[in-house]
């Protein structure tokens, strides 16, 4: 309806309209009639027009959808909070249905008194609130050998960021009384995969959180209702959902999830184990393959997410020429410990193609490496911990593609 540029275009604004816009000059139904009342949605969902902003899974990745993963639609989100409804899921035996009344948490092993807590017991311990990112160690794993999936949701969507409320794991361990021989905890879920991981006692006593709320409300079923573990900055597989048991041990259990999986095979065939920390990483969420530029030259917002398991993000740089030169982007808020940061770079796009990259730095001085720098050290078979710099090839028509560059 908006016509081509008229005289006013140079004075202010883009193309001037030649005809008045009927969306303005004609009375629209929503400006005359009733919308929904306050009893329409006691608990609301996104409007139908946003029905494409959903978790997606990739059929060929796994044998079935029960032990599988889906991806957060990060290309369509902004800010830093991930709503629970579209925050990615990874299950090893499906999302289980566990009522609070039937929930039990056991602390056993090298403790003075093994204990059993009900959900109601947990609510009586002092609580804390923290916003943390959770990244699956396999995030970007499909990209180890080269560009594969065409969208930030698929290449980087195994991540979410929520405000958790819960009890420090330390308090529960102190309640049971950790014996001096204790050096590790083994944490285990109530689902049929009984997903279990070994965590050094130091980390368990430092910042691990037994959480029951996320983004203010109860954990969703698919995020571990009623209780999950938060292991800030460390790989998502350790954030046990439906947490049912914490055992204090002398040694790591070397369970399937920390031997067969979540170990990183190097080029010479040896494998790293206990690679827990998620290194600093970032991705441009828009423009990106699923979020192309839909306008011509002129102002363009480049935006993305950055995070580090080593601490707070201190800086993000953006390159438009595939890494030849870099500009420091604007952080929407100062970086927070082990939480997502949102960055923006506001540019005047000349309409020519770009090779867009982002590079995160954290407060420890760690700088996100290129994919090739990682490959030089780790080879091509690592699967996990791919925090290499991502490149989007944005074409003159605004479409973007996942590519790798020299």
């Amino acid at each position: 309806k908006a016509g081509l540029a008229g005289g006013g275009a140079l004075v202010a604004g883009g193309a001037a309209a030649q005809e008045p816009d009927p969306l303005i000059t004609e009375k629209q139904p929503w400006a005359q009639m009733w919308g929904d009342g306050v009893d329409a949605t006691p608990y609301g969902m996104p409007i139908e027009y946003e029905s494409d902003v959903i978790r997606r899974n990739v059929g060929w990745l796994t044998a079935d959808t029960i032990s599988s993963v889906n991806f957060s639609p990060i290309h369509a989100l902004d800010g830093t909070i991930t709503p629970q409804g579209c925050a990615f899921e990874r299950h090893h035996s499906g999302a289980i249905d566990l009522p609070k009344e039937d929930y039990r948490l056991m602390i056993n092993g090298l403790v003075e008194t093994p204990l059993v807590f009900t959900y109601a017991d947990l609510e009586r311990f002092p609580r804390v609130n923290h916003t943390y990112f959770l990244e699956c160690a396999a995030n970007s794993g499909m990209e180890w050998a080269g560009a594969q999936l065409n969208g930030a949701q698929f290449t980087h969507g195994m991540i979410h960021n929520m405000e958790y409320s819960g009890v420090p794991l330390r308090m529960l361990l102190e309640e049971a009384g950790v014996k001096p021989e204790g050096k590790w905890v083994y944490v285990e879920g109530a689902d049929a995969s009984s997903n279990g991981r070994s965590i050094p006692l130091d980390k368990a006593l430092d910042d691990c959180l037994v959480a029951f709320k996320a983004n203010g409300e109860a954990l969703r079923k698919e995020h571990g209702y009623p209780v999950r573990l938060c292991v800030p900055g460390w790989e998502g597989n350790m954030w046990i959902k439906w947490l049912r048991r914490v055992e204090v041990t002398t040694e790591a259990v070397e369970s399937r999830e920390e031997t067969s999986k979540y170990t990183d095979t190097l080029a010479d065939g040896t494998s790293r184990k206990w690679t827990w920390v998620m290194d600093a990483k970032s991705v441009i969420t828009s423009p990106s393959p699923q979020s192309p530029i839909t306008h011509g030259p002129g102002p363009l917002v480049i935006t993305g997410l950055a995070w580090s398991g080593r601490g707070a993000i201190s800086r993000v740089d953006v390159s438009r020429d595939g890494g030849k030169s870099w500009q420091t982007a604007r952080l929407a808020q100062p970086g927070q410990n082990m939480a997502l940061s949102r960055f923006y770079l506001d540019i005047d796009w000349d309409g020519s193609e770009m090779l867009l990259q982002s590079r995160a730095m954290d407060e420890t001085g760690y700088v996100q490496p290129t994919k090739n720098a990682l490959r030089e050290i780790r080879g091509l078979n690592s699967i996990y911990h791919n925090n290499g710099i991502q490149t989007w090839w944005v074409k003159a028509n605004g479409e973007a593609e996942n590519v790798e560059v020299s």
Partner: protein
């Protein structure tokens, strides 16, 4: 505990959940099972996903094979080629398999199935009987194949250099394109 919350766990309760088995055999219950019995149990309970010879079906995990592939492209990581500890097999099968009906096998059946997986990896003979007594004697080929996370020394110094801002490289070429691979699900899925 200074809050006085929770209640002491009863021994039967700890026994019911404290099932994990460590590399040194701690947690392993008494019992035994033969390759022969294992073959039958595996065929009935596991083969539909993992194949009669533990070779895998479709995208389901292969439990056998892959020897000597770890330093090649697309290594095949199986119990035989990759797993460092037998305890992990016993523990995982006992607690987590069969997928969809976990914890249906008896202790002896888990010994038998574990023996069969070893056999299908050519690590034991067909007359082998695995038990809590001989458990620690089984040698896992890749037992020495793991090192503890060394990123602090091998990567951190390299990845903590002040980053280049201008003229970082002379030219840039696109070396690979995802759209050419075209393995991304449709938006309309």
């Amino acid at each position: 505990g200074h809050f006085g919350l929770g209640r002491p766990a009863l021994p039967e309760e700890v026994a019911a959940w404290n099932l994990d088995v460590a590399p040194d055999g701690v947690g392993l219950p008494e019992g035994s099972g033969s390759v022969e019995d294992g073959e039958e149990i595996f065929s009935a309970n596991c083969a539909v996903c993992h194949g009669e010879f533990a070779e895998g079906v479709g995208n389901y995990p292969k439990l056998a094979g892959g020897e000597g592939t770890l330093d090649r492209d697309d290594p095949l990581k199986t119990v035989g080629s990759y797993w460092p500890y037998l305890s992990t097999v016993w523990d995982y099968v006992h607690r987590s398999m069969p997928f969809g009906a976990a914890q249906v096998l008896t202790v002896d059946e888990v010994y038998a199935v574990t023996a069969y997986i070893l056999y299908s990896n050519y690590l034991v003979d067909d007359d082998f009987v695995l038990s809590n007594e001989n458990f620690l004697e089984v040698e896992m080929p890749n037992a020495d194949g793991f090192i503890v996370d060394d990123r602090e020394t091998t990567e951190l110094p390299r990845f903590s250099q002040p980053p280049c801002m201008t003229d970082c490289k002379p030219e840039v070429e696109i070396t690979m394109r995802a759209a050419v691979l075209d393995v991304t699900p449709d938006e309309g899925q």
